[in-house]
Point group: C2
Chain length 352, copies 2
């Protein structure tokens, strides 16, 4: 697959230059990363280059009007209407919560282990008011006592896997982490998502900080305090036996004893939670005769957050954590190509 | 110590009968359990019988007016003014957050291990506007990498210990649990609080339910669902290796897969959290060559909540968990007596 994203440009599709307009006419694919609280749209040429991007807050729980009143159509038209006018032949693909039971149309989960072919087979179509068909990528479900689900991350993971060069032995088991509100850790092998775990780290951090006594003694620091963060990671790693419900109270008590300032407490708590996440992941890996130490893993997500995870992972002996960029754009393109929605050309349409 | 509380009566101190008035004149002690969100007041005769109780929502974070504007005095007068008019010679003692840095006057923590004498030695006095002196019981602090603090629970624990009959060998190490917003587990021996642990179980449950995605798929059941609760406890006990951040997500995903109804999810999540608390406690006990299995422990707190803990404890092999009633009233009386604030008489003043 062609390396996309390296030429990402944010063009205004309405007021763009004539040259940009000409490029937009060659657009081959519109792809949407449509989550709960945000919507990102990407426009690609036939070679997979991203010509333009748009972002809005019209996530599925934040539509401009209710779903019954055409909220999905309205949000889609706001984001992509101008693109579709200029490139009416472009295919449209979407991944994320837009395919959930609360989404535009439900694309039932495909079971793990799942490869890209399984995702393609699970695509569900919905026709927008303007007549264009959206292809909704399904999420992945892992059944069991502790079922796991993902929607959107599967597409990012296939974006990361599609980027593998010959230097990567894709037949070997590897680990991909996606930090965030609901952090995911996926074990991948031979182009498949074998199994995965969810940690509600980001959302629990926000709930603890905003809605428990822990937030009352915290002040936001001017810049992230790496020492306080590392302190939290190490406590979770070395003294976390009693579990998160016990260790988080130390964010308050270390303040009471003068060992942690108000400005240090947010990063300390963040370190505690990420430390517990990694300790939990380590325990699960151990059951699979695996370990974080020495792993060559990949991270997908917000760069600053991934950097926090790299710092924390090093405390678990994992010093090779590579940040994968443009995983969303690459993944959407890859699934669209595999679904036959685009016919990738070897040359960029706008070359020269 | 005389068994108090068994004759607990809630008399209206203003509109009571003449007989009640006569008893109030013999009141020897007013004791306050003054926490963050509530204030409970107890009036005792010289034998330690509770003559009357009052409760209000005037916790230290919920005063009728600000502390600077005499909020503590106002709340105290509202609760106990009428009692003091009728029994002006009564001593006054208070325990709980009223002695914190945000309280009426700070009663600095005493260090664990701590016995009742240490509490008495740490009492701090404050004079109310009406002239009466309040004796504020200090909390207990356990220093270390994960410091622990309690305020109010130490008094309840000494209330439970004071109730020990000759059948209890107080020289043996024992465990006392205080379920709640911030659950405490104390190891006691020879009349001392040796060490203790805090689990933010109640507050984390509320934050997860009210302020995360988990609450969105929950409905409140008509009655507690013990099966769903036990399911959560067992998952935490047997499949909790990945930790709380991972297991709580199953409250949602078991709903998505149809394994848990909306009405079952609250009790399942409650079971998960209490299960993680007990698994964490078990891990800490193991470090001390101890275990929950076979423990003869005591529980202090809300009866329905303690019953949940009894059900959960049985899953950890602990089938002897005795509910201690009136621990607060007994503890306040005991500390007051040990401080010389009352001279316990062997007979009830209102006998006959």
């Amino acid at each position: 697959m062609k390396q996309v994203g390296s030429q990402t440009q944010a063009l205004d599709p309405v007021n763009g230059t004539a040259a940009a307009d000409a490029r937009l006419q060659h657009a081959a694919l519109i792809a949407l990363d449509w989550g709960t609280t945000s919507l990102r749209a990407y426009l690609y040429d036939a070679a997979g280059n991203v010509l333009a991007t748009r972002a809005s807050t019209a996530g599925i729980m934040n539509l401009p009007r209710s779903a019954e009143q055409g909220g999905f159509d309205a949000a889609f038209d706001d984001a992509c209407g101008a693109w579709l006018e200029q490139a009416p032949g472009a295919s449209v693909i979407a991944a994320g919560m837009v395919g959930s039971a609360q989404g535009w149309v439900e694309a039932p989960y495909v079971d793990a282990p799942a490869n890209a072919d399984a995702l393609v087979a699970g695509i569900v179509r919905v026709k927008a008011a303007g007549g264009v068909t959206l292809h909704i990528v399904p999420g992945v479900l892992q059944r069991g006592d502790l079922p796991n689900v993902m929607r959107g991350e599967e597409t990012q993971i296939f974006g990361a896997l599609g980027q593998d060069t010959g230097a990567v032995d894709s037949s070997k088991r590897a680990l991909i982490g996606l930090p965030g509100t609901h952090a995911k850790w996926a074990v991948v092998q031979a182009g498949r998502i074998e199994r995965f775990h969810t940690f509600m780290t980001g959302e629990v951090f926000a709930a603890l900080r905003e809605h428990t006594i822990l937030g009352r003694t915290m002040d936001t620091p001017d810049r992230p305090d790496t020492d306080a963060f590392l302190h939290g990671v190490k406590i979770a790693r070395d003294k976390g036996q009693a579990g998160l419900l016990a260790t988080v109270f130390s964010s308050r008590t270390l303040g009471l004893t003068g060992q942690l300032s108000r400005e240090q407490q947010p990063d300390y708590l963040s370190g505690l939670l990420i430390g517990h996440e990694l300790a939990g992941l380590e325990a699960v890996l151990a059951q699979q005769h695996n370990s974080l130490a020495g792993q060559q893993l990949r991270l997908i997500g917000n760069e600053a957050l991934c950097e926090r995870y790299r710092v924390a992972l090093a405390q678990f002996g994992c010093t090779h954590a590579e940040l994968v960029k443009y995983a969303t754009e690459r993944g959407l393109w890859r699934v669209a190509a595999q679904a036959g929605l685009v016919n990738p050309t070897p040359q960029a349409a706008h070359a020269g």
